[in-house]
């Protein structure tokens, strides 16, 4: 049987309470009986006094100790009296007295004069006897009550078992067998159609019905959600653009196949965190972070194009990055990143750029972009030199060996120029057989050295393989310094042109100058 089952609890409670009631009531009965008996004994003693008062009075009146003794002894034989005492004229006649506290005293009058007190009769009630009696009554009462309590407990247990426990066990067992959401219901136990248990079963059945309905509704909703989720997943997974959901600190929460594919392309394995905003993946990640910060500060979606880090330099990868800040219902912030591969477009743009800015044949900057670069240097107030170079003897080669050979010569010279200038400097094809070289932050001495080097290379005989013929060209060079000679591009170029002409003239005159500076030309 269950230790904390209703029956055991009921039995324990009833037995303990009946014990308590028995104990208290026996105490009360004892107390009550005791007081009652004391009262009774007082009454009996008063009666005794009435009975013996005549004789006792005579004894006291006649100062007769023997008679008094007789009275006292007679009283002591009575069960109610523990001891008695007669007192007259300074004399005391008494039986053995132990308990003088509860003494009861009566006056003894003269038999002949009613108002004249001739002595006293005192009696002590037998409290011990009374106590024993009271205790016995109390004990008997307690026994009776205990027996009654035991009987009541047994009856209550049987009734509770039959009326409550058994049906409840039945209900509980039945309930255990029922799975929520099914159509099975509890059966109301016999004789409980209108009892509280019946009500409970009814309520449970009601609850079961509600649960069934609710579960069915939930199942339906779940199915719908599943379908929806499947579709969303389809959108997400089949997207060609990588989509990533991350926490602001960079922990990736979810990503699609396209993202892993992208990582494969740049030879990286997927990991949990690529830094905030995937910054580890981008070359210019500082500008990405900066742009995102500005966009979010303006409550805008951040959009930008960034180059991905990549192992192969000749195949740069570019993506358009769209970053959206999402705040969830529980006030957490998430970043949604969508990447669009724009490498192809970038490449085409690059190509277009090259076509627009470079001379197709020599792959040097064309005149248009050269001018733009010079304008930019002027705008930045940089010191530089414009070196204008015109080939000598090129027209002859072109006429003799054809355009292809001429082109070959031009390409060769372009290669020489490319290799002769520093990274920050540049050279461009100005038109026909004219070239412009721009050198920044140089003095005349350095210019002369470079020019000499270039001229040496240009003047080296060139072997035309188709014609199996060695040819050579020369060059006339003029230079104008910014900002010393002039401040605008056109002026600089004109001055360099004039200087170049001066060099050309010197060759005719046999002076053979390498270079003429604009300030050396005098009109």
């Amino acid at each position: 049987m269950n230790k904390s089952g209703l029956l055991i609890r009921l039995a324990v409670v009833m037995i303990f309470s009946s014990l308590a009631v028995g104990f208290i009531s026996s105490q009360l009965f004892y107390r009550f009986t005791y007081l009652n008996e004391v009262d009774n004994s007082k009454k009996q003693i008063a009666e005794l006094y009435k009975t013996v008062s005549a004789t006792a009075s005579i004894a006291a009146y006649l100062l007769d100790r023997e008679l008094a003794n007789e009275v006292v002894e007679g009283l002591a034989t009575n069960g109610v009296v523990h001891g008695a005492l007669i007192q007259f004229d300074k004399e005391v006649v008494s039986t053995k007295l132990t308990n003088k506290d509860s003494i009861i005293q009566f006056n003894l009058h003269s038999p002949f004069e009613k108002g004249r007190i001739v002595g006293h009769l005192s009696m002590v009630p037998d409290l011990v006897q009374i106590e024993i009696k009271a205790k016995k009554i109390g004990r008997d009462n307690a026994k009776a009550l205990f027996a009654q309590a035991v009987a009541a407990t047994l009856i209550a247990i049987i009734i509770v078992y039959l009326l409550i426990t058994q049906p409840m066990i039945y209900i509980s067992k039945s309930l255990h067998k029922i799975k929520p959401g099914t159509s099975k219901r509890l059966i109301i136990p016999d004789f409980h159609q209108h009892s509280e248990l019946g009500g409970l079963v009814h309520d449970i059945n009601h609850l079961l019905s509600n649960t069934q309905q609710q579960l069915a509704a939930e199942q339906e909703l779940r199915d719908e959600l599943k379908l929806l989720e499947k579709r969303f997943r389809m959108i997400f997974e089949s997207s060609q653009s990588p989509i990533i959901l991350m926490e602001p600190r960079g922990s990736i929460l979810i990503y699609n196949h396209a993202f892993t594919h992208l990582l494969e392309k740049i030879n990286l394995d997927i990991k949990k965190n690529f830094g905030a905003l995937l910054s580890e993946l981008f070359i210019e990640h500082e500008s990405l972070v900066q742009n995102v910060r500005v966009a979010f500060a303006n409550n805008e979606i951040s959009t930008g194009e960034y180059q991905l880090i990549s192992s192969s330099k000749d195949r740069p990868m570019w993506v358009q990055v769209v970053i959206n800040s999402i705040v969830s219902e529980d006030m957490k912030e998430y970043y949604q990143l969508t990447l669009h591969d724009i490498s192809k477009r970038k490449k085409e743009l690059e190509k277009l750029n090259i076509r627009a800015n470079y001379d197709q044949m020599t792959q040097l900057l064309n005149r248009h972009s050269g001018e733009k670069k010079i304008e930019k240097l002027i705008y930045n107030k940089q010191a530089f030199v414009v070196i204008l170079m015109d080939l000598n003897g090129f027209k002859e080669i072109n006429d003799t060996y054809g355009h292809d050979s001429g082109d070959e010569i031009l390409i060769n010279i372009a290669g020489i120029l490319k290799n002769s200038v520093r990274h920050d400097d540049f050279s461009c094809r100005w038109g026909g057989d004219e070239f412009v070289i721009i050198l920044t932050n140089v003095d005349k001495e350095a210019i002369r050295t470079i020019v000499k080097k270039i001229l040496l290379k240009i003047q080296k005989p060139y072997y035309l393989s188709i014609h199996q013929q060695e040819v050579s060209v020369g060059a006339s060079i003029g230079a104008a310094l910014h900002p010393k000679d002039n401040l605008d591009m056109l002026g600089l170029v004109q001055m360099a042109d004039k200087a170049m002409y001066h060099t050309k003239q010197s060759k005719v005159l046999g002076n053979n100058l390498d270079i003429t500076f604009a300030d050396e030309v005098h009109d």
């Binding site: 008679l67 003269s110 038999p111 002949f112």
Partner: protein
């Protein structure tokens, strides 16, 4: 209740005796003229006649002289002194005698004999009608005062 009835009865009887008998029975308690005692209270008289004390207040041994029964003076005396009939007085004595401690008084057959006895014995005490008082006797207590 019974007690109250008895008390009422006694009071009625006493009243009757006072009004009906006082005129014809004027009793006094007397001693020998030579007895030093000159005055006694009712209690002292009762104590002597009912056996409590056997001495006068001054300590001298006293001998109460009583009349024999069937004497109307005696009946009147006890009725007035202790409020008891002679039957009850006798019942008292028979009870007291049983213990053997007290001896009842000397009994004489007539009032004349009683006077004679007291006149010859200075420590005797007795009761009589006032009208029969002699010069050898002295009143120590009067019943109707």
């Amino acid at each position: 209740m019974a007690h109250l009835k008895l008390t009422l009865l006694i009071i009625t009887l006493q009243l009757l005796s006072v009004t009906a008998l006082a005129t014809e029975q004027d009793l006094v308690v007397v001693v020998n003229i030579n007895n030093p005692t000159s005055q006694m209270t009712k209690s002292q008289v009762i104590d002597l006649f009912m056996g409590r004390y056997i001495a006068f207040p001054n300590g001298e041994k006293a001998t109460p002289i009583d009349l024999i029964d069937n004497n109307h003076i005696k009946r009147f005396f006890y009725q007035n002194l202790v409020g008891m009939s002679l039957a009850r007085v006798n019942a008292y004595w028979s009870r007291v005698k049983f213990t053997g401690r007290v001896k009842p008084s000397v009994k004489v057959p007539s009032e004349a004999g009683l006077i004679q006895h007291i006149q010859s014995s200075p420590l005797s005490i007795g009761y009589m009608e006032r009208k029969h008082l002699t010069k050898q006797l002295k009143i120590v207590y009067a019943l109707n005062e």
